[in-house]
Symmetry: C2
Subunit: 388 residues, 2 copies
């Protein structure tokens, strides 16, 4: 009872009480009128969120499931795709694509850095038979935001589908797919959408649908054309994850009530809070230039053990964050500030980082990191978010 | 406020309040100690429920997802399987298997009837190169219980894997897989387990694991060997459906507290209640001999429209049931009595059936169907359940 637990991981995120209460209601049947009405309402809200006139399909699976669905419904074995690999989830694209029999060209980017449209253009020139580009909008393992808008301006002029993993960006930073020319945008429920894990969402552009219509999906469970047919009847192809969809409708209602622009401004401002505070402490940011609006990755100085720091933050301060992955294990921490997290939660997180850092033998630069961070937050809220 | 809504569909089923409240708690992280402790506890309870020493793997998907996982992890394209097809879900096995490139031999059974071990033996004699048999324990579309124990006594003597869809049987009627020699048992969360849809569970026998270890699963998302490796660390391969697993732990706690035998006796007794009441009304049961313990299917006389009957039951009495599927559309109704349903709910359901039947122009035989049904319930509870 000393500390309230605060979940500042880059998903799953804390859940609003009203979403949890909606999901706690007794079961309703997924083939009956009440559920269909909710599906219909949710569909309108999802299209607004995704920035598309196309249906947004709900799938009962984790984020990796919906990534698998995208790859297997848009490409056939032997086709070539370029995978932007700048972290753990870029790697996952490559594993899914090669596991599905595609020819994978890896466009490697240093962890912490974003791919450039020029790099993509060069790779496409070298591989003119490329059928698609698989990229993260936000690479959750590093906190990098890849420039999807600029990448789309390259692919939309070609017969190349741009497939974007928006798992830690949808509902966090804008990615209006029709306006930008994104061919496939997908996400999971447990990040920006303030829901438990277990629901995937995916939308295809018109030209991506044309491609999908020519393909018989190899995995019976992931059939986007079949899902589309059902969504038109406010249904899903197989048993709907009813509770998650009820929760989704409520969380989207909150989004619409607040306004998408305000949500994005908040996310940008939180990012300014985190980055300013961390810099003021004298710590290094893992993603110097192109950064996600939902998490902040911090590189630790030698001699400070990240695993221990996370333990101290959890045990002494009740703050739960994530560590670095692969070669950054123990060398970095990731502070999540997506979903149902506000400035005060994040300020508590920064204080826990600073104090735990000292316990682990680190030395904090300036003591006014909270004041400076919160100042940056308020200024950002007033001035609007950065360019995309 | 005139009627309380009563969900008597064969899944999703009503949810106990304590399960809903557990699921309504704020999010915890799936890679942290608290969640691992719950996974460990759940695993012990699941093994008891499945009657196996093998791990029971939780997957984030619907029932069809876990059926897909079974087929793609146990067989490779070109291999021959026998599918017992006696309803909508037998058909689904066939679609998944042929969609995965297997050679499918269909063992057709009339809707409403169970396959016999002799029929299976004859099919296996005709197709000695068969690698597996895919069957439902309970065929949800008709309410038939296939004799899994007898089928397993055929397959266990051969190099043939018996793969059992226990979606509407696990937690409803016994299917102790190790004792019977079942090679794969799977289920979904929204039936006997008193949870929302979205969680699949699957266990393999030792010899099925030997087979699975030789196969590279074609769909990246469904990798049972990878899941097993993670379950040993009280984790899942991809992001865990956290809320559903918290709920599962609570619903399994209720099972253990009540005792599995008592749960099965209750389910059997409810089935006696439904069947006695329906017969007493003068209506025909769709499954005359081998019947599921979680739902009762009723064939309607000509001139009574099933869709209209369901509407009347919902609107006037607040009772939600399911209709017949395919050629039984409008010609049958299905009364669910699995999961969090008790004798009083089911009695209310029978009364709604009788009254709605009269509204739709039907004629009820005896007026004492409730009394007789409840009598049968109490007698069954006292005498134990039928042979399997």
């Amino acid at each position: 009872m000393l500390n309230k637990p605060r979940l500042l991981t880059p998903g799953p995120t804390p859940l609003p009480e009203q979403v949890r209460l909606v999901m706690a209601q007794d079961m309703i049947h997924h083939r009956k009128a009440d559920f269909k009405r909710i599906m219909e309402e949710t569909q309108q809200r999802l299209r607004h969120l995704f920035g598309t006139v196309q249906p947004v399909l709900p799938l009962s699976c984790s984020g990796t499931g919906v990534m698998t669905a995208a790859v297997t419904n848009l490409f056939v074995p032997g086709e070539k795709v370029i995978v932007v690999d700048g972290g753990k989830f870029g790697e996952r694209w490559a594993k899914i694509a090669s596991g599905s029999g595609l020819t994978v060209v890896t466009l490697s980017v240093e962890w912490g850095h974003a791919v450039t449209p020029e790099q993509l253009q060069a790779a496409l020139a070298e591989h003119p038979d490329t059928r698609g580009v698989l990229v993260q909008n936000s690479e959750t393992s590093t906190g990098v935001l890849h420039p999807v808008r600029a990448l789309a301006s390259v692919t939309r002029a070609l017969d190349v589908l741009l497939v974007v993993d928006g798992i830690s960006s949808v509902g966090i930073s804008p990615c209006p797919m029709d306006e930008w020319g994104v061919d496939c945008l997908l996400t999971g429920s447990q990040k920006g959408l303030m829901l438990p894990p277990g629901l995937g969402l995916i939308a295809l552009s018109e030209r991506a649908w044309k491609r999908a219509e020519t393909i018989t999906p190899p995995c019976f469970y992931f059939n986007l054309a079949g899902e589309r047919e059902n969504v038109r009847k406010n249904q899903t192809l197989f048993t709907s994850p009813v509770s998650l969809i009820l929760g989704l409708n409520e969380s989207l209602r909150m989004f619409m009530e607040t306004g998408l622009e305000t949500v994005y401004r908040k996310q940008w401002a939180l990012t300014m809070l985190a980055r300013t505070g961390i810099r003021r402490m004298g710590l290094d940011l893992l993603a110097p230039d192109h950064f996600t609006w939902g998490l902040t990755s911090v590189r630790l100085p030698d001699g400070v053990d990240g695993a221990r720091l996370l333990e101290v933050a959890a045990e002494r301060f009740g703050v739960f964050m994530a560590g670095g992955q692969d070669h950054l294990k123990g060398r970095a921490i990731r502070i999540g500030h997506m979903g149902w997290v506000d400035w005060a939660d994040l300020a508590a997180g920064l204080h826990a980082v600073a104090e735990s850092f000292r316990v682990c033998g680190g030395y904090i630069g300036a003591r006014d990191y909270l004041e400076q961070g919160l100042q940056a937050y308020h200024e950002a809220l007033d001035t609007g978010y950065g360019a995309l």
